[in-house]
């Protein structure tokens, strides 16, 4: 008995995997719902599909619903993040020309040292540095700003930020419209594969555990259909749990590669899913533990402190009141809904709904709703710790 068919918007990215898997592997059917996946060409398009009610839920950049709550961008429709879909998963890449200058200057492309990579980029890039990001309100933009600003290049003020849909990032780099980018996989790898770029850093070299995509719904829909939403959250949670099993990434790459989803060779998708990236057209490989995380370390828990961090970054740039922004932002990540939805499952839920972001350098056991739960490292590259005001 299918209770309902839910339309869900997504962008062709590796981190749409939990939604694609929930559908293809039957986790949605187990919850008596059908998921109808609608591919969109850009983030503004997905956001509008959701805001205007053309889809019930969406694969969404975590800062988008926060920005909407702060009155930035969007259509004024309040959105809620009822689950995180994935942590990490972005890559920063540079043009081959810039990469060559950085190599000449002695940079080793070790792919794990944000400080060294940032210093080399700042030293060797032309001014102003032209950076491509998929959307103004995105973890991509936040990571770049945090990183470059911490290293002495005040961003976004001193850089030229351009919005380029993920699938066009390689083209923009090739056309010389940008010097570098931060993008979700597989579009960084596609730039490498097409011979137009070299990868410089994974996103988690800047922030070890950033909430990358969320499952977003209209807040009024969340109020009206708590039961259906619970089914969707559980289906997606089971999909993420399946993705974390050792044998799953290979098969997930096959599912994602199909024409209605990413329509790219599975070999390219394997890179992000296994954390083994090819960083240059010469074929150099780098292994990145935790490159993208769908389940472990409570990856899908929507921490109010994550939303607050995002909200305060946005507030600082736009001059909004910090306390108001923190409050509004924190209310967007619905840990209450997530908890209620997962109560009937075997999910281990954290005892608190906010944490000091950046405080963990190593896997750490924390109190869970029943027993213990392990959280992974979530430190920032510069060691700063964010103390949330809300919880």
């Amino acid at each position: 008995m299918i209770a309902a068919t839910l339309s869900v918007g997504f962008l062709p990215l590796v981190d749409a995997a939990p939604l694609i898997v929930a559908h293809e592997m039957g986790f949605a059917a187990e919850e008596s719902i059908a998921i109808e996946l609608r591919r969109a060409p850009s983030w503004s398009s997905v956001r509008d599909m959701l805001s205007f009610g053309r889809v019930e839920a969406a694969h969404m950049l975590s800062p988008v619903p926060v920005a909407a709550a702060l009155g930035l961008g969007g259509t004024g429709t309040p959105l809620s993040a009822v689950s995180v879909l994935s942590a990490n998963g972005d890559v920063i890449g540079v043009s081959n020309e810039l990469a060559a200058r950085m190599r000449e200057g002695g940079h080793d492309f070790a792919f794990n040292d944000a400080r060294a990579a940032g210093a080399a980029l700042i030293t060797h890039a032309a001014r102003p540095l032209r950076l491509g990001v998929p959307f103004p309100f995105s973890m991509h933009a936040e990571l770049l700003y945090y990183w470059l600003s911490a290293l002495g290049l005040p961003a976004p003020q001193s850089v030229d930020i351009r919005t380029v849909p993920p699938s066009l990032m390689a083209d923009a780099l090739e056309a010389g419209e940008i010097d570098a980018f931060c993008v979700g996989e597989p579009w960084g790898s596609m730039a490498v594969e097409n011979g137009v770029g070299t990868l410089l850093l994974p996103g988690n070299a800047i922030w070890r555990f950033s909430p990358e995509k969320v499952l977003a719904v209209r807040s009024d829909w969340a109020d009206a259909e708590p039961e259906l939403m619970g089914r969707l959250i559980r289906a997606v949670w089971r999909a993420g749990r399946w993705l974390a099993e050792p044998g799953s990434p290979m098969l997930a790459a096959e599912l994602l590669s199909r024409s209605q989803y990413l329509d790219l060779p599975p070999e390219i998708l394997d890179r992000a899913l296994t954390g083994r990236l090819v960083i240059s057209p010469q074929g150099e490989e780098r292994t990145v533990p935790g490159f993208v995380e769908f389940h472990h370390n409570a990856a899908t828990f929507p921490w109010r402190s994550q939303a607050e961090w995002i909200g305060l970054q946005l507030a600082a740039r736009t001059g909004l009141d910090r306390a108001t922004a923190a409050r509004s932002a924190a209310s967007v990540f619905r840990s209450d809904i997530y908890r209620a939805a997962l109560a009937p499952t075997r999910a281990e839920l954290p005892g608190a709904s906010a944490k000091r972001e950046g405080a963990l350098d190593a896997p750490t056991a924390v109190p869970g709703a029943s027993g213990h739960l392990t959280l992974g490292p979530d430190s920032f590259f510069d060691g700063r710790i964010f103390e949330p005001s809300q919880s």
């Binding site: 008995m1 008596s32 259909e225």
Partner: protein
């Protein structure tokens, strides 16, 4: 002949959608026991229950109702009867629990190989139906996941083999090397807006037909 056919719970329309109440077909020849089972299930949750008294009507009712779960009570089946019932109930599409009073013929293996999610040698006891049904559902899901995973993995492997085979055919037919053969497949796929695996499969099939 196919039973009382009463429905214990009408589908609820919620916001223009159907409710997700599990629909259950209970095959129970004993009318009194059927009532007790329905009562017991109703106490345990919100279900849409259809009782039929004779297994002969099962396949037709299943086609008509597409139930979520099938519970079959049958005294002491022969192997043929068991296999026929298992087949009619569609045990690969939904959880099926089969209850027998006695298993004289030692049909446990046969029942489980036929795909039933629960085979209980003790008859259908009203107070025990719910936990057995829950276990059957959980087991069916686990099995279904694995079957999906296996089918998808086989499909992926099959596609790769198909591509390799098509490449080999092109290499022979056109005298090109492997790279060129793949480039040709990919170009055809792009021109036709299809996947490389589809183009490869079409090529291999056509060759088989022409062969």
């Amino acid at each position: 002949m196919t039973g009382h056919g009463f429905t214990s719970h009408r589908k609820l329309a919620v916001a223009g959608r159907m409710s997700a109440a599990l629909s259950i077909i209970v095959v129970e020849p004993d009318r009194d026991r059927a009532m007790l089972i329905v009562d017991s299930l109703r106490e345990a949750g919100e279900y849409e229950i259809h009782v039929i008294s004779e297994p002969t009507g099962l396949a037709r009712r299943i086609q008509a109702l597409m139930p979520d779960v099938v519970l079959i009570d049958i005294e002491s089946p022969s192997r043929d009867m068991l296999e026929e019932l298992a087949l009619a109930s569609g045990p690969l599409e939904r959880p099926v629990a089969m209850f027998v009073d006695r298993d004289d013929a030692g049909l446990t293996d046969a029942a489980i190989e036929a795909g039933v999610s629960a085979y209980v040698v003790d008859g259908m006891q009203p107070q025990r139906v719910k936990p057995i049904m829950d276990a059957a559902i959980a087991r069916f899901r686990m099995f279904q996941r694995m079957r999906t995973e296996l089918a998808e993995t086989k499909r992926a492997l099959e596609e790769r083999k198909m591509i390799d085979r098509a490449k080999g055919m092109l290499m022979k037919a056109r005298g090109v090397d492997e790279d060129e053969a793949y480039a040709l497949l990919r170009k055809t796929a792009m021109d036709q807006g299809r996947r490389v695996a589809e183009v490869a499969a079409a090529l291999v099939t056509a060759a088989g037909l022409l062969g």
